[in-house]
């Protein structure tokens, strides 16, 4: 496509390189930026640069942070006997929102995926093993995809022999939803994972 400006063309290219953004949306965003006051773009650009310069991995849990260790890892109020392993930084946010988990996290940054060439070396697995000597329980909170499942299996085979308790999050019926309206696959899994009372 032929734009009337090279700068516009470049901006559209960059936007459309982002996930979920197609060419049309990229164009809309570009023209939106052009219409906004110059302050907006300046702020936008500064924020973008800060993001990459200030944010890095926490050396303990590998979540994103500006200060190392991150606020969670440096909090004295948390229980250092429990570590919850998640796939992505997003998952930490989700679990933190519950305000029910007071241990530490460990972000793997992905799951095993031979087809995409993802091996344990590409994940923060070694780093996990290095920090769990004083841990009593590791909770594996990976997604229920086949790849997440395989990673759960893999990690539990590595950690269990160290004499550490390994657990995984349960899958079941969402709270507040009635059995009648639960989808059948969820219901059948929940049945399978029933617990004695």
């Amino acid at each position: 496509m032929q734009y009337t400006s090279e700068a516009i063309e470049k901006m559209v290219e960059i936007f459309s390189a982002l996930p979920t953004i197609g060419r049309k949306t990229a164009q809309r965003l570009t023209f939106y930026l052009l219409r906004e006051p110059a302050d907006f773009s300046r702020n936008f650009a500064d924020t973008l640069i800060d993001l990459k310069e200030k944010v890095h991995y926490c050396s303990k849990c590998f979540n994103y942070t500006e200060n190392d260790p991150c606020p969670i890892c440096s909090s004295a109020k948390r229980d250092n006997k429990i570590i919850c392993v998640v796939e992505e930084p997003n998952d930490v946010l989700a679990i933190e929102k519950t305000s029910e988990f007071f241990g530490y996290y460990h972000v793997l940054h992905g799951v095993l995926n031979p087809l995409d060439g993802v091996t344990p070396e590409d994940l923060k697995v070694k780093e996990l093993l290095q920090r769990i000597d004083h841990t009593e329980e590791v909770i594996l909170a990976l997604n229920s995809s086949v790849e997440g499942e395989a990673t759960t299996q893999y990690l539990s085979r590595l950690i269990k022999p160290l004499g550490i308790k390994v657990s995984r999050i349960a899958s079941g019926i969402p709270i507040g939803s009635s059995l009648e309206f639960s989808d059948e696959a969820t219901l059948s899994r929940a049945m399978e994972c029933r617990i004695a009372i």
């Binding site: 995926n113 031979p114 995809s145 086949v146 790849e147 696959a185 899994r189």
Partner: protein, 406 residues
């Protein structure tokens, strides 16, 4: 006698009263077909009973049935790549249909597919749905000469037959089947890598083996239970179609698994144990060949006739009778399991059948008050065979357009 009265007198109450499940009926009222094969833009309004779609060869009759299965199963009943069914010269197809249940609850569904993009499925249940979220909402049972492969073809064709039915009955089954497929791809990949690398860390194979075994056991246990329930239906229909002259049977033969004779349910734990043994046996060959050598992707469903394997023993006519019985049994299995009457799709069935076998298929059409869609080259032959109390509608198709309807 009117349509609804007749349903009632036959014991199929069209209502779900006081939460007690009685058979539900879903009827397709309308369909819009855009850019599917030779159809550019076709809109059809259907009768609740039998819809007869006629036209010359190549007119676009089967395409209408394909459009219906795209709405019911998320893809055409014909095994074809998606890109092959898009009208040539266009970018994608779009199908939308409106159905209504006997309770008067509308169900709308649309499926759009554009080359190089993700399939877009929307229904009354929500936008941007996955296939597994719509399969089974509008159960269908298709009979087409294309399904000859069930009795003629490879084990894969027969596994497909089982999978299509179970997928409409159980969402859990769809999920297990998807997991199996993904797991096999990953496991085969890792076996290929292991084969080439002498220093490979073998423990990396274990997690995939574990998932294969667990998922495999869930699938086998469900297939086994299914065949146990399906077999009597099949035998009954075969007797019916053939006049009781031949003995037929179905035997489920899961790969590397022996199911105790007569056992109704296969215990998942015992299946897992058997798979573990199997894995030990094939381990070396798997590494040598770089591929998975055990699991439900190798199961067989043996169809016997008079003590011999149907694929080798059955005559042309017997193959036809087998197919009709399998499909009638499928219809009734879905009917009972879902407490919902499947929509019947018959593609060019009557041109291939003699009058006796045709009569059996018509019996199915006339008996259960299912909504049916039938393609024929000559509608006149069919007219006299259809119960006049059943609401029916005729469509004449030419070059991908409805040119006449009455």
């Amino acid at each position: 006698m009117g349509w609804s009265q007749k349903i009632f007198l036959n014991g199929f109450s069209p209502f779900r009263l006081f939460g007690i499940l009685t058979t539900a009926y879903m009827k397709i009222r309308k369909i819009t077909i855009n850019n599917l094969r030779n159809h550019s833009h076709t809109e059809m309004e259907f009768a609740d009973g039998i819809n007869i779609i006629s036209g010359l060869n190549g007119a676009g009759k089967t395409t209408v049935l394909e459009a219906i299965t795209i709405c019911a199963l998320s893809k055409s009943f014909l095994a074809m790549p998606e890109s092959a069914i898009i009208k040539s010269g266009t970018d994608g197809y779009y199908i939308a249909s409106e159905a209504i249940s006997d309770l008067g609850i509308p169900y709308k569904i649309s499926v759009g597919f554009t080359k190089g993009k993700r399939k877009l499925i929307k229904s009354s249940l929500g936008d941007s749905l996955l296939p597994k979220e719509i399969i089974g909402e509008m159960p269908v049972s298709v009979l087409s000469p294309d399904y000859k492969s069930i009795t003629f073809g490879s084990p894969g064709d027969r596994r497909n037959f089982i999978d299509k039915i179970l997928s409409q009955v159980s969402r859990r089954y769809i999920e297990e089947a998807i997991s199996l497929k993904k797991c096999l791809k990953q496991r085969n990949r890792i076996l290929q890598i292991a084969r080439k690398d002498v220093n490979f860390d073998m423990s990396l194979i274990d997690p995939w083996t574990e998932i294969l075994i667990k998922t495999g056991a869930e699938i086998v246990s469900r297939r086994h239970r299914f065949i146990k329930e399906f077999q009597p239906l099949f035998e009954k229909y075969y007797k019916d179609v053939s006049g009781g002259r031949e003995e037929v049977s179905l035997t489920y033969l899961p790969d590397h698994i022996s199911l105790g004779p007569g056992s109704e349910v296969a215990d998942v734990q015992s299946l897992i144990g058997q798979y573990k043994t199997a894995q030990g046996e094939v381990e070396k060959s798997e590494l040598r060949r770089g591929t998975t050598l055990f699991g439900p992707q190798k199961d067989e469903l043996r169809i016997d006739i008079n003590g011999g394997i149907a694929k080798e023993y059955a005559s042309q006519g017997q193959h036809k009778s087998l197919l009709i019985s399998l499909k009638s049994a499928e219809f009734n299995y879905l009917f009972e399991k879902k407490q919902e009457c499947p929509i019947i799709l018959l593609d060019d069935v009557f041109s291939e059948l003699d009058s006796q076998r045709s009569a059996k298929v018509l019996e199915l059409l006339n008996s259960k008050f299912a909504q049916a869609f039938v393609t024929v080259t000559d509608p006149e032959k069919l007219k006299d065979c259809i119960d006049s109390s059943i609401p029916s509608k005729y469509f004449l198709i030419e070059n991908g357009c409805v040119v006449n309807q009455y």
